[in-house]
Amino acid sequence: MPRQTLDREIHHLQDEVLLLGSMVEQALLNAIDALKRRDVESAKHVYLNDDLINEKRYAIENRVLILFATQQPIAHDLRLLAAILEVITELERMGDYAKGIAKIVMRIGQSDIPIPGREISRMGDQSVSMLHRALSAFITEDVPMAYRIPKEDDLVDDLYNQVYHKMMAAMIADPEIIDHSNCIMWVVHNIERTADRVTNICERTIFIATGELLEIDASDDEWDDEDEL
């Protein structure tokens, strides 16, 4: 008794997860682009579009719950569907980060405070690239890839530190811009958190393929106490 209905539903859900992922990727890129161009209109667009991301997430969750109730998925099917529930939660959070960036763009408006656009772009591109490949690995259950991607998080952390130093220097030079500089720090914080959450998607990929629930340590969760600022 082959499971055509379940298989078809699972394929459909995987497509939906990829679609949700690309909505989130686009939101992040658009939010960062709006920041660099100080484009309040397009930031507003990202801000409002977050509703679509939330809706898509709940639609997927609903489908998964219906499959639990009607198809009694077991073993690999069960792990896959449970993992989808986790991954869409991560994606929705990432969407919230993009929305947060958009909100900051709307707040900064046309002000001429310095924005380290090059670093922020590179952080955004790197995070989105990690997310994109993590979702491919999730769908293809590529375990080696799922182990590799979280290692790239260091690059995002390095860029974060560069932006931090730049903003500190700017604030010291001109205390007037402290408030706006804080906004910029929140932008990079949001991008950095996005890359961290990619790790969780990779963990779920390993879970589906092997049944192993593991935690790949996100590099920013542990700190060496002796290290000075």
Partner: protein, 298 residues
């Protein structure tokens, strides 16, 4: 969130500056993995199946099975139709002796003693290892006599003792409330679900250690099925239960351990995988088990 005060933000960014520890795998468990209560090597074993093969004439229906069935647990035998589940189950109380041409190789140990040893009394084995069948099969006699049948066979004559055994057995089989006013009506007048619980009462009236059940719920409606399944959970504190079922959800719901059988190239039933039910249904280790439990077999 970006309204937070500069001081707070500085604390956050300060932390951010510190060097991360090398990335490692912090914690890891495997889905379906559980505490020691699921470890067969740590549980008392009631039945040991040791290199057991079962033949019908020249046909080897079950091939070289070795497995340990833990005490006070429910063990399910699952697998495609014809893979030898019923044959294996029947061999656990020598019901297969009743089929002409059937014979076994290997051993089945009850508390360490081989039930196929020549000095074994088969009647005694069937008292200690009871059986419940797929179709409820009450004897064509009263509810009372159905349950009293076994104890009488084993020599109990006293009315007061029989009364007590009958009531206790019917209570344990969760059918007392249904039949207490019908004890002297025929068992055949009960509903299917009641009949099956009557058969369970009949099996436990002789105080067995092990109860074998061959698809005990497959002829019942869903509510009666759930009642039997609940009953099994209550019975396992007193008995060791082995159940054959073709219904995987049932195996998942009721059993603690699951054995998956399949026929090999010679059409003999073999044990493919045996382990904690939680593991078999979340993370089976063998490809054939995965295909079978997910419903993609064949």
């Amino acid at each position: 969130m970006f309204q937070s005060k500069p001081a707070e933000l500085l604390t956050m960014t300060q932390e951010k500056q510190k060097t991360p520890l090398p990335r490692t795998t912090l914690t890891s468990i495997n889905v379906g993995e559980t505490d020691g209560s699921q470890d067969l090597t740590k549980l008392p074993i009631k039945l040991t199946v040791d290199d057991l093969s079962i033949y019908y004439g020249k046909f080897k229906a079950v091939s070289e099975i070795t497995m340990h069935i833990p005490k006070n647990r429910i063990t399910a035998l699952i697998g495609p139709s014809g893979c030898g589940k019923s044959t294996l189950l029947r061999s656990f109380n020598r019901m297969n002796d009743l089929i002409s041409g059937s014979w076994v190789e290997g051993r089945v140990l009850l508390d360490g003693k081989n039930i196929y040893d020549p000095d074994i009394d088969v009647v005694d084995i069937r008292q200690r290892i009871g059986m419940v069948f797929q179709r409820p099969n009450p004897f064509p006699m009263s509810v009372f006599d159905n349950v009293a049948y076994g104890p009488r066979l084993y020599g109990i004559r006293k009315k007061s003792v029989l009364d007590e055994i009958v009531e206790l057995s019917l209570r344990r089989a969760a059918v007392w409330e249904d039949v207490k006013d019908k004890l002297h009506q025929s068992g055949l007048e009960l509903s299917g679900g009641q009949q099956q619980r009557l058969c369970i009462a009949r099996a436990i009236a002789v105080e067995p250690a092990v109860i074998l059940m061959d698809e005990p719920a497959s002829a019942l409606d869903p509510i009666s099925t759930l009642k039997i399944e609940e009953l099994m959970q209550e019975l396992k504190s007193d008995y060791t239960i082995v159940i054959v079922t073709h219904n995987m959800q049932e195996a998942a719901r009721v059993s603690d351990f699951t054995a998956f059988l399949m026929i090999n190239d010679e059409r003999s039933g073999t044990l493919v995988e045996y382990g904690p039910t939680e593991q078999i249904f979340t993370n089976p280790q063998k490809r054939q088990t995965e295909e079978y439990v997910t419903g993609r077999f064949g």
